[in-house]
Symmetry: C2
Subunit: 439 residues, 2 copies
């Protein structure tokens, strides 16, 4: 099974930075990130992944000053480039928005990262973050969902063409003939689309992986369709095995219509996980972090993902129906999850934010219990692997590597060493042949 | 005196890749760049610098296939980020165009590089490369010189404001109070200009240097004015001490009008240099590379910088006057230099391209001879230091570090160790105080 890990500086838990074991300045410490990436590599993970949004919040700062969330972080491409020298095997994936950058720049930076890392780059294609991001790039608000996805689709098409600007063996460096490259093996892009006009060739050789791995996480119908067409890794966020199977089948079922082999897309189920020597110890560690959540933080986090104003509400009452928006603009899956907890489970605001921090599928327990759950998901066909999220770093990742990885290896579910030379090889993804190459 | 080095993969000489001592795949080998950067650091250089253009040529490929020039190179920000972990002291400077990117992305990536490198980032502000770049970004051709500079000026203003999004001590990480930052110390940018609208805050703490160092190289009047207003390092390209003094005085003389202390801008004279045990050996090494230049390459290089069509001309005749354009669109200094060689020196096409490859001020000789020249420029007030360019890497840089650096140290012209912790400190540039900080 494939393993990725989503790395937030001090951990996935919103209160992790308050924990005595957290490194307070983690978010801008490269030495810290090196240690975490090396731990993930010790655990033979396929992918070290950095989420992103190109904005800091500038309103409601009193509440947000209690949470580090993306207010002070390394930019992903620079961070992953720096980490390429501190690791040798693990994939390096980062988010970059198609709404606020140019295809040539993104194609070039990820191609360069792929060369720097000898074939370990992955790009998580996102269409947006929030209105704060839009305002940093000349807009008043985020374009509509459909428009963002139309632009994203064209963006990815152009980026893939740019990665194919040169055939794999274009740079012959033939000193006898004095030829650095074979002119016949440049294939300039000539793209004239609704969102982009790009006429030229990338100024870097075809990446070691042919193309860096494309990641997506969109859960909407439009997002799934784009993923079925272009993604090679998808982060899923379903809470139950049944929902996971449904998502998995739906997504892979869409692929043949795009002429793709369903095996060439790996669905990684998001897995917040906390392992300890005993179940009770894991529960205690979880409770310790939950107790550190300030009510203002819980309320704001929920308001952000529900895209609602929750100010002034009693913490020990349910959220009134009139405060719930009709639909989500930013992240449909988060929204649906919260609305379900409000309507079906009738939770109070406090219960809701405490529950929401981890969701129903949080796995807390011993290595055997955690491995059991992972095995159940994997063997039921709910995923091809997991996107691991750790509450507190590096503590919880170290425990997972020391306790769960050996258990998965014993069960034959995980490698005992990196077999592949590139991220694609480790994930079992083919290296895309160049479209012009004889086949 | 300050020392920077402009690093082209196998060297500054257009035929360097053909030399038996060159590493053919240097341009996409991070291990190679690490070795070169570490050599520069052994030489106590202030700055390791990467030039750039966001385009590969897509026409006249038969001629261009004989020269590696920017056809297959790492993207600068990713390369410098990777090098930050392989070096400890040397500054890391890279080119990024204001014509083809967004201020938020550039501000963010260079701020991130500054954090990754603990205060060693520098940004070379350029307005353009060529029409090939324009076509990669939705345009048919490069905007006019004045328009590019107007955009560049506004771009730099916005980037500097974004770097000041947070006061230096904004991120207090106060666990007792549960406050990650002090909300009063965020100062969001509210910029509405002719070219950009940016309303928001950068999502990374103020860089270790306050602001990464700003480099420029524009030689035109508009370029000098922008440099006088915003640059902290300027690469100069004058060929004689007299011209160097003229440029130096002109540039520094413009600074007080912008309220700036002339000492806060370092003029680095471009210095192609080749040192050897004897003068004759240096001349032989030079001749060896010159002999490797293919006539098609010489002609194309010249045509590119003269912005002229030189096809069909006899190599052993002067360039006819009617082939010379009235003015330059891309790089005025190169253009002027070539035109002068045509009109004043009456060189043939072949003589011209052989001469142009190094120019009149190439320094070839022993360590003492090279140091004499550098000392003469420096003490005459023609520069604050040098931008070293080496014909063949790493050979010529190693010779400079082993032979010239000790000579300069003996003369008291160079440090014997890095005294500063940041690039600014090593260059003698102040750390800009935050505009809102009490002062």
């Amino acid at each position: 099974m494939a393993l990725a890990t989503l790395v937030h500086p001090t951990g996935y838990h919103v209160a992790s930075w308050l924990h005595p074991q957290a490194q307070a300045d983690a978010s801008t410490s490269i030495e810290y990130y090196q240690r975490v990436a090396q731990t993930a590599e010790r655990g033979l993970f396929d992918l070290f992944f950095i989420a992103d949004t190109p904005a800091a919040r500038t309103s409601n700062l009193t509440a947000f000053s209690r949470m580090p969330l993306f207010m002070n972080v390394f930019e992903p491409v620079t961070l992953l480039s720096a980490l390429s020298g501190a690791t040798r095997h693990i994939g390096l994936g980062g988010t970059a928005s198609t709404s606020f950058s140019e295809p040539y720049n993104i194609a070039r930076q990820f191609a360069s990262l792929d060369h720097l890392s000898h074939g370990r780059a992955a790009w998580n294609v996102v269409t947006s973050a929030n209105d704060f991001a839009a305002k940093n790039f000349g807009l008043d608000r985020l374009p509509a969902h459909g428009d963002r996805y139309a632009r994203a689709r064209e963006f990815v098409q152009v980026v893939r063409q740019l990665w194919d600007s040169w055939e794999d063996d274009a740079f012959i460096r033939d000193r006898a003939q004095g030829l650095f490259f074979d002119p016949a093996k440049q294939h300039a892009v000539a793209h004239e689309g609704a969102h982009f006009r790009v006429n030229g060739a990338l100024n870097i050789a075809r990446p070691p992986q042919g193309r860096p791995v494309i990641i997506q996480a969109g859960a909407s119908d439009t997002g799934r369709e784009l993923a079925a067409e272009t993604a090679e890794v998808v982060f899923a966020s379903e809470s139950t095995i049944e929902d996971g199977i449904g998502f998995y089948r739906d997504l892979k079922g869409r692929m043949p219509r795009h002429g793709r082999d369903p095996d060439q897309l790996k669905v990684l189920a998001g897995l917040p996980v906390l392992v300890a020597a005993s179940r009770q110890e894991a529960e205690d560690m979880h409770a310790e972090l939950q107790a550190l959540i300030h009510p203002d933080v819980g309320r704001s986090r929920l308001a952000m993902d529900l895209e609602a104003d929750l100010s002034g509400l009693d913490l020990d009452q349910p959220i009134p129906e009139e405060r719930i928006p009709k639909s989500a603009n930013f992240h449909q899956a988060y929204f649906n999850h919260i609305v379900q907890m409000i309507r079906v489970e009738k939770l109070t605001l406090r219960q809701l934010y405490l529950r929401y921090e981890r969701g129903n599928k949080t796995i807390r327990g011993t290595a055997r219990e955690v491995a059991d759950q992972m095995q159940a998901w994997f063997e039921a066909g709910a995923c091809d692997g997991f996107m691991l999220m750790f509450n507190l770093l590096p503590r919880d990742m170290e425990a997972f590597v020391d306790l769960v990885v050996p258990e998965l290896q014993r069960r034959g579910l995980m490698r005992s060493l990196y077999e592949g030379r590139t991220l694609r090889e480790n994930l079992g993804l083919i290296r895309p042949p160049h479209p012009r190459a004889a086949g």
